[in-house]
Every structure is written in C-alpha cells, then in structure tokens.
Symmetry: C2
Subunit: 200 residues, 2 copies
C-alpha cells in the first residue's frame, strides 16, 4: 500500500481552500489516501522572511482577482473574507485534537472551517466560531474549548509547522506524493499526472 | 474582429518559454491572433523591488524542479541553461526590429531564441548568438547587428517594458485577453476557459 498523500495547508490560504475541495476526489481515483495537515503559514513566512501574495509588491489586486477567477474555474463557491488573512491557531489546534480521535470527523471539520471562512466570510480565528462550527458536527464544546488551550495540542501544531519547514514548505498548499513536493492548487494537474504515471 | 491576445514575456523566463510553445495553438483554436511582446523582466523586478523565483527564500531548488517537471508535463523539451538568468536586450531588440518588417518572421525568430536558450542551453545574451540564430532564418547579419545598437530600437524596448509595468505586469509570462490579465504558464487553462466562455 502506497504512503498517503500529505496535504499541508493553512486555513486562511485561498488556494489551500480550493485544493481542499479537490484533492480527496483526485486521490480516490487512484486509490490513494490523503492526510490533511494544517500548519501556520505565518510562521513559515517568518522563517523565510517572506510575505503573503497579497502583500507582495504589485500583486494585491491581481491576487484577489485570481482567487475569484480560480474558484469560478473550478466551480467552487468563494467569497473573499473581509478580514484576511487571519490567525488560524484555533481551527488548526481543534483539527489535530479531533484527528487523534476520528480522522473522518477531523476532515469534515476542516472542510467546514474552510467553507465558513471562504464561503460565509466568517472569521475563523475566533475560538467561538470554531466551537460553533464543531458543534454542528456534534463535537462537545467544553472538551474542544479546553483542547484548544491544551499545551500538548499547541505543541503538536508547532511541531507540524516545524516539520513542514524542515521538508521545504514555503507556501500553501503543499502536496507531497511519494516524496515529491508540489506547491499550489494549480499543481494538482501535475499531482494527477504523477499519480497516473508514477513520475515525470 | 476581437483584439489580438498580448503575450508579454522575457526570453530568459522558463515559464515564458513553456507558454511560448503553447499559446499560438491555443489561440488559433478560437480564431484569435497573438501579438508577442518581449520585455525586460529585470527592469520590472527593479521597479517593484522584487527578485526572480529562483532567488526567493527557500524556492531555488523547488523552482528548478518545477521548471523541468512542468516542461515534461507539457511534453516540451527543456534543459536548464548553465547561465541563468541572462540579460535579454539583444534578442528583444532584434525581435522588435524584425517585427516591424515581418511579423511571422519575428515570431519564428522568437521561437528560435527560446529554443536556443532552453533547448540547447546557449547564452542568448550574446549578440553573436543572436546573429547566428537570425542567420538561420535568412536575416542579414550586418543590418541586424546595427539594428541592435540603434537608439530607436533600444528606445522601443524601453517603451514596451514601461508599458508592461503601466498595465500591471509584475511577472512573466503575462497574457492579456480582452483586457483581462493572466500571469503564468499555469494560467493558460484559464485563458482557454476565458476564450471559450467570454469571461468567468
């Protein structure tokens, strides 16, 4: 059995959202699993001394237009949140806590977070929003609320972010298949090629 | 008759090379013309205070791998030149001088320059290399040699680069169709969508 595909992302990354709506169906066509791993893109940018696309010189307006156009191209509902980007510690910690209990539930939760932020435009940096999203999936709010403040859960997210940097991740989404790294929603067609042909 | 598609690029840009091998066939399927406009990406980066992809923190190795992978994905012959990037004033000036005489010849010349750099790995910053490339297309080397030093031709290239900056170009290739701008070889699928549907 081949290793699962690793899908690393930040919940506030528009291209990660687009990839999140596509990657499982793609992998499934080739009988492959996908492990989702949220990380903190802000920490990655800080590590490299870089900034998000919308803050790169000359790119702001183009980037916003490209987010919307790319969503429409893939038939994915998208609305640019008023607050962008936002810190994503709360949903990422919640995700890892859920992952250790129920992987399928964690993935449903991750989808719901992305759709809450880029579909409804609600601020997913707020623990209250995250509790609300999780409650709809029957996650106990009291346990989740303390999990998001649990030092071990916080440490887990730091470790996952450090591991992402260690393997070369400098942007999101970051997809690793059979040790090969692909950056960007727009590289899913090459991921597909790789899955089909086992290489280039 | 719709306006021609504008294809702006730098002869030393790998993704521009990939797009150059694809864009005319794509446009032709929709009965559209493509006007090719080489510019100086170095001047554009200087304007914005940015740097090429391979010099962005953490991206060097990934970028090289992505160039080769993307070429293979599209079935385009590609070899990373030992000298990269190089200044492209010589081929760009030669192109505009040819364009005013014979648009089809200018395009054949542009293809030959790209293939000389990214196919054969020869340094296209050298006027001697450009004269050699042009000679194979029956361009008179004496006339071309003086054209590359002609102040009016030099000014033309500066104007085209300034115009590209004025319309928002910050990277290459930069494709404009019906006033809509697309950045990158990887956006040709969206250019195709646009040509098919007249919008998003």
């Amino acid at each position: 059995m081949a290793e699962p595909i690793a899908f690393r992302f930040d919940f506030a990354s528009p291209y990660s959202y687009l990839a999140s709506e596509r990657i499982d169906a793609l992998a499934e066509r080739f009988g492959r699993e996908v492990v989702w791993k949220p990380v903190l893109l802000g920490a990655i940018f800080k590590h490299y001394g870089t900034v998000q696309l919308t803050r790169q010189p000359g790119m702001h307006d183009y980037a916003l237009r490209d987010f919307a156009r790319s969503a429409s191209f893939h038939g994915i509902s998208f609305r640019m949140p008023l607050r962008f980007p936002v810190a994503t510690q709360a949903p990422a910690r919640a995700y890892y806590w859920l992952l250790d209990q129920d992987e399928a539930l964690a993935k449903r939760f991750a989808h719901a977070v992305f759709r809450t932020y880029f579909g409804d435009g609600r601020d997913v940096s707020e623990p209250a929003t995250i509790l609300n999203v999780a409650a709809k999936l029957d996650v106990d709010p009291v346990s989740l609320s303390s999990a998001m403040e649990d030092p071990a859960v916080k440490e887990r997210l730091r470790e996952e972010t450090d591991a992402a940097i260690a393997l070369g991740m400098f942007g999101a989404p970051w997809i690793t298949v059979d040790g090969e790294h692909f950056w960007g929603n727009d590289r899913l067609s090459q991921v597909e090629y790789w899955l089909e042909n086992g290489g280039f």
